[in-house]
């Protein structure tokens, strides 16, 4: 429980005003350093921020940038959903059943240590250069991490609350929704956080190796053309999308699901 001497309105002001200002200042500082470096270098290999932003804008209006972002985002979302769903179910099962845990543990360690590239190549070789192979390969890279985190969550479940659910004979779904999942929420959040960043990096590799579109494909194309402006432009565009997801979707959602916490008596 937080203990704070500050009255509530001061707290709100700190969060809604000073927080973003500092973040924005820090971003502005980075842009300035970049701008100066580009001015000094005067090289095609280090375009300045103005040039990159102009490229992104042009590509968005006249080119394929938005479509490529869209297709990559779809792959990220699909892989994320598949990985979290499968990883959570297996992780929970392993956390609750010691026998299953012992049986699956060696495979988990193998999968954890298998390089992403190997999984991607094998998926393409065995299942062809198609969307399902691409998404499956990305998901398979994330699944073991999700399992490990969710397994810890399942081990930390409160046996006291489990007994409440049993004594009152809660239905399977009621218990899952009201007792189990809320306890797993922090583990799910941690797993999602690290997962989404891992997944989008691997999606680019998958696109580079065997997809005819997406940000990864564009990066590959522009690498062959030595178009650094396009490479930085695409990267920044997609990072912006991910930042928007974090601040506009993930964080508000997290605040909602944890609003029962830190309420002083």
């Amino acid at each position: 429980m937080t203990v704070s001497a500050a009255p509530p309105d001061t707290l709100t002001r700190t969060h809604s005003y000073r927080g973003p200002l500092l973040s924005l200042l820090s971003i502005a500082g980075f842009l300035l350093v970049w701008f100066i470096a580009a001015e000094i270098a005067q090289s095609r290999l280090l375009p300045g921020p103005v040039e990159v932003v102009r490229y992104v804008f042009d590509e968005a209006v006249h080119g394929d940038l938005l479509a490529e972002l869209g297709i990559t985002l779809w792959r990220v979302t699909a892989s994320f959903v598949v990985a979290m769903l499968i990883g959570s179910v297996i992780g929970l099962a392993m956390g609750e059943s010691p026998a299953l845990d012992r049986a699956l543990d060696p495979w988990l360690i193998v999968l954890l240590n298998l390089p992403a590239l190997v999984i991607i190549i094998l998926a393409y070789v065995w299942f062809g250069l198609n969307e399902a192979a691409a998404i499956g390969a990305v998901a398979l890279n994330k699944i073991p991490n999700a399992i490990v985190t969710m397994r810890e969550g399942a081990r930390a479940l409160d046996p006291g609350l489990e007994e409440v659910a049993r004594a009152y004979r809660l239905s399977f779904w009621s218990k899952l929704r009201n007792v189990t999942l809320p306890q797993l929420q922090p583990y799910f959040a941690a797993s999602s956080r690290s997962g989404i960043s891992l997944i989008w990096k691997i999606v680019l590799v998958v696109e580079l190796l065997g997809r005819p579109n997406g940000v990864g494909f564009e990066l590959h194309l522009n690498f062959q053309l030595f178009n650094v402006t396009a490479i930085i432009g695409y990267t920044i565009a997609f990072v912006t999308v991910m930042l928007a997801i974090e601040y506009l979707l993930v964080q508000p959602l997290e605040r909602r699901t944890t609003r029962w916490r830190n309420k002083p008596v």
């Binding site: 429980m1 006291g160 609350l161 409440v164 004594a167 009152y168 004979r169 009621s174 029962w260 002083p264």
Partner: protein, 249 residues
Amino acid sequence: MNDARPAGETSQFEIRIEDKTHFGADGTRIPAIRDLVLEVRPQSMTVLMGPSGCGKTTLLRIVAGLDTRFVGKVYVPEAARIGIMFQEPRLLPWRTVRRNIEIVAENLSNAELDHLASAVDIADMLPRYPQELSLGLARRVALARAFAPRPDLLLLDEPFVSLDERTADRLRRLLLEVWSARSTTALLVTHNPREAILLADELVLLAPRPTHVVAVVPILIPQAKRDATVVEEIYADLLKCYPANFATG
């Protein structure tokens, strides 16, 4: 473990435990209950009283169906609804007080819930989260939750420990009020003799570990008439008859 009885007798509960042994982490056997037989009279408040660590909680957990590793039989009908109050409130911290009560009693109407909440004096707390409540308030919520499913059997495991005496006393009176308005079969466990005397229709005295029933003492004076002096009188009487059970209190 649960042998269903014919419908006409559902309000009768019978407990026969031949042996219950705990196993310590290093494999040592700790006998907890040996040859315990107990009949719980319908619509009565049966209070189990025994020294700390005698296996009272274990007994209650067996009756609740939370512990099935024992030798013997507990006759609680399969369909019997159970309301339980643990030593700790055990509320779901991520659900409001209202949701905490609703979750265990799906057919409880809003009006009934509000009525129950005002009966235990937590009507204002319904939209709050459990972490905002003091222990005394959280216990009241747990009490309301235990009554919410209209239980056939109400199990209370030392429900008023670690409260100051005034709060505990208020809660005991509150329990009696809510309980007598709903005439439920209740089984309460305590090590506090005065609490036992205040609440019990039938007072069951338990031996130290491995526990069994020493005596069943009916207390005939209605609970409503048991004020401090009456409780002390009964206590003095019982102390004479069962010095081993009442000496420490």
